[in-house]
């Protein structure tokens, strides 16, 4: 009988453990993008990616549609090449779309802002592996100050 009580208590113990794991998994962690669901890849070349990191979000109007999956240097000119993994739910971007490196808030993380382009008969949709041509690089504070001083000097 004592053995049965012990088994009952251990059973409840394991159940509490599983419930706690479910709480952590569903309430505390994000389960939406990256871990599950169909995705496709887009590429973009920048002059400067600033503080962009792998796993930074890709947003359209503030809504996360994917994540940066890889950052490498590409080509003869050593341009930063960013690989984005986009959820297949959002696969209707035209090749006139543009991406820019943006910062959330004053001190926040950097992310990629994707602006969907116009659609008419002459433009094609972006498919898996395509490059986004229209890119805007990160703002670097020192460059801004340099440009400011230079333009002051011309006056």
């Amino acid at each position: 009988m004592e053995s049965r009580n012990a088994q009952l208590a251990v059973g409840f113990f394991v159940i509490i453990g599983v419930l706690a794991l479910l709480f952590l998994g569903l309430r505390a962690a994000n389960t939406s993008i990256g871990s599950n669901g169909e995705t496709y890849k887009l590429y973009a070349k920048f002059d400067n990616i600033g503080g962009l990191k792998e796993r930074s979000p890709v947003k359209v109007g503030g809504v996360v549609v994917g994540r940066v999956s890889r950052i490498t240097l590409d080509g003869d000119y050593y341009e930063p090449l960013v690989e984005m993994t986009i959820s297949a739910k959002y696969d209707e971007f035209s090749n006139t779309s543009s991406v820019s490196v943006l910062t959330s808030g004053l001190l926040g993380e950097q992310y990629l802002g994707l602006s969907p382009g116009f659609i008419d008969d002459t433009v094609e949709m972006l498919d898996d592996g395509d490059y986004i041509q229209d890119t805007k690089s990160a703002l670097v504070l020192e460059d801004l100050i340099g440009q400011f001083l230079f333009s002051q000097g011309n006056d």
Partner: protein, 258 residues
């Protein structure tokens, strides 16, 4: 002079011999034909005394550590107007570090010391020898179920600790200090990763469970079978296991998040 060198040599040799003894004990206890019908009730009994009875101290300390994290984090973050980041701060520090580490330290003090004392007393009162006289292998009968019970219980305890701690942080941050509830959970969700944070925390606690239980059983099984010897072995279990946990934690953190 030479005596001192000899003493140094002796302590090194003793340490190596102890590590070897511990290894042999573990291998002999774990390798062999599994006898599920016999070992299942023993495992349940041990999981009850090692795991279930540790639940109260784990839940209470988890709640208070979560509440302290919420309070301390809030007073710092509110200066920067970043009190929405309280959620990920509490969740990440619990899941990555405090959950596995504090659970392992509490486990070493609560369950590890009792394992050492129990086995040490069995040795001192020659119960282990009697088992061998009856052709029952004490390693299989006494050590093996206790090892598996500790190995399975501690990750579960660490998960419960983290969950209760996050709830404690929520109580203080949202209910008391007035952080926005939606921001608390959503910013937490956008920063905590299933594989990177939760899974790595569980891997950490599995490693700690292995080390703490192993040390506790080894110290008990190879103690000097006197009352002084048992008391020394119990102390040494808590000290060695705590140091091993803290040292391993640095190595694991460097490997996982470095």
């Amino acid at each position: 002079m030479l005596d001192k060198v000899a003493a140094l040599g002796k302590s090194v040799l003793d340490t190596i011999a102890g590590a070897g003894q511990a290894m042999v004990m573990l291998l002999r206890a774990l390798i062999g034909k599994p006898q599920l019908r016999k070992s299942w009730p023993l495992l349940m009994q041990q999981m009850y005394s090692v795991g279930v009875l540790s639940l109260v101290i784990i839940v209470v300390s988890g709640l208070f550590i979560g509440m302290v994290l919420g309070l301390q984090g809030y007073t710092i973050l509110v200066d920067f107007g970043a009190e929405q980041s309280l959620g990920p701060m509490v969740a990440l520090s619990l899941l990555r570090e405090l959950g596995p580490v504090v659970t392992a330290l509490l486990f070493a003090g609560r369950a590890g010391s009792s394992l050492t004392a129990e086995i040490g007393l069995m040795k001192a009162t020659e119960q282990l020898s009697s088992l061998e006289m009856m052709a029952v292998d004490p390693l299989r009968r006494v050590i093996s179920p206790r090892f598996w019970a500790g190995f399975y219980s501690m990750p579960i305890l660490a998960i419960i600790f983290s969950a209760v701690g996050i709830y404690g942080g929520y109580l203080v941050g949202v209910r008391w200090l007035g952080v926005d509830e939606g921001a608390f959970w959503s910013v937490m969700q956008s920063n905590v990763e299933w594989g990177q944070d939760i899974l790595n925390g569980i891997i950490k606690s599995l490693v700690f469970a292995f080390v703490v239980t192993w040390i506790a059983l080894h110290k008990g099984f190879h103690c000097t079978p006197t009352s002084v010897g048992i008391s020394r072995a119990t102390t040494s279990t808590v000290v060695t296991a705590s140091l091993a946990v803290l040292g391993l934690d640095f190595v694991l953190t460097a490997l996982m998040f470095g």
